[in-house]
């Protein structure tokens, strides 16, 4: 089918990290262009489009995920320092928190608990497997932290990553309507709810509405990541999901 020389080049490229890395950046760059072109439509989140394109490429070329990840791991590695970097927006917005730290803290703990317990309970009710339940538990946490938590509690980090992104899109698409329906008009409260539930994708959506809502969403995202990392293993042990 392929010219023997071309086939040789393909075999060489398919095993080198260069191809996976370049494919990732090209796919993301195109996906981001589409996102900007559609005026930041939440359903066309660049992560979803880029992942979709790459999955399609891997299936069509019959490339294994392990071979792709040889290149992908260079980008993946940056999730670690990016998590540490969340300390900066947290620090910048901390002054805003001083006035209302108690309601925020209680609301965040309530939200984190509700998020973890409802996801496990609903998944169990509808017959999801044990591993899926564990991978769903940290779904509201920003992806780098959620993947770390998922690994720690014995879930599947890459499944968690996909679930986290989907959660973010659901929250960003339906969240503003839900909050209006509940007659919550205070942008600080709307931001807290959005950032806790829909992490980075929700925060990006909140910034489109107002900078106050965005700032509070970013704060809720960083704080709830910390709270979930501390609380989730104990919470899952309490309901008997973890031993």
């Amino acid at each position: 089918m392929l010219d023997p020389d071309l086939a040789k080049i393909w075999v060489y490229l398919a095993t080198s990290p260069l191809l996976g890395l370049t494919m990732t950046l090209v796919a993301y760059s195109l996906a981001h262009r589409l996102y900007v072109y559609t005026n930041y439509h939440p359903a066309l989140n660049p992560v979803v489009t880029a992942v979709g394109c790459l999955v399609l490429c891997l299936i069509v070329t019959d490339t294994s995920y392990a071979a792709y990840f040889e290149g992908g791991k260079f980008i993946h590695f940056l999730l670690g320092p990016a998590t540490v970097a969340l300390a900066v927006p947290l620090h910048q917005q901390f002054a805003k928190l001083r006035r209302i730290w108690l309601p925020v803290l209680i609301a965040l703990i309530a939200g984190v608990t509700t998020g973890a317990l409802t996801s496990v309970a609903i998944a169990q009710l509808f017959g999801a497997s044990y591993l899926t339940q564990l991978s769903l538990a940290p779904k509201s946490v920003t992806a780098p932290v959620a993947m770390g938590i998922s690994e720690q509690i014995g879930g599947l980090p890459s499944l968690t990553a996909a679930l986290v992104v989907t959660t973010g899109i659901i929250g960003a698409l339906g969240g503003t309507q839900l909050l209006s329906l509940l007659r919550i008009n205070d942008d600080s409260i709307r931001g807290i709810a959005m950032g806790l539930t829909a992490h980075g994708i929700g925060t990006a959506r909140a910034f489109q509405i107002s900078s106050e809502m965005g700032a509070f969403a970013g704060l809720a995202m960083a704080l709830s990541a910390l709270i979930t990392a501390v609380m989730l293993p104990g919470l899952l042990r309490l309901i008997g999901l973890l031993v």
Partner: protein
């Protein structure tokens, strides 16, 4: 430290600017490294980078160091956060079997749990603020 290099201000200014991103990234990596070591030593199960985030936050709050380097590296990394999920997201390909078997519970869970969580967070916060306002008026 010789003085002949220090005397060249132009060199120093350009060099400072050039090094700011590298310094910022280095600080982030050092905190991640400390976090990873702490994660191994501490009895609680916390991801190393989360401990690193917490320690960096404490440092920023307590010592108020010059932020420029950390701020630049952090802003740059965080503004491309979406890109960093892509390689892990492609990992979904490994879970196709699981997804075709469990798409219904997963979809229902994501939809319901996301909405319940958002509503609960907002309602709890409104409730507590109302409670605080009432309490505040009684004692005013």
């Amino acid at each position: 430290m010789t003085n002949d290099r220090r005397s060249s201000t132009i060199y120093n200014e350009a060099d400072k600017y050039r090094m700011i991103f590298i310094n910022g990234i280095t600080i982030l990596l050092i905190y991640e490294l400390i976090g990873e070591v702490a994660a191994q030593l501490l009895p609680i199960a916390l991801p190393g980078p989360v401990i690193g985030m917490f320690l960096l936050f404490l440092t920023l709050s307590l010592r108020r160091p010059s932020m420029a380097a950390i701020e630049m590296a952090s802003t740059t990394l965080l503004s491309h956060l979406s890109l960093l999920f892509v390689p892990a997201g492609v990992g979904i390909i490994v879970h196709f079997n699981r997804l075709t078997h469990e798409w219904l519970p997963i979809t229902i869970t994501l939809l319901l749990s996301t909405m319940i969580t958002m509503a609960t967070t907002a309602i709890v916060m409104v409730g507590i603020q109302r409670f605080q306002n009432k309490w505040g008026h009684h004692h005013a």
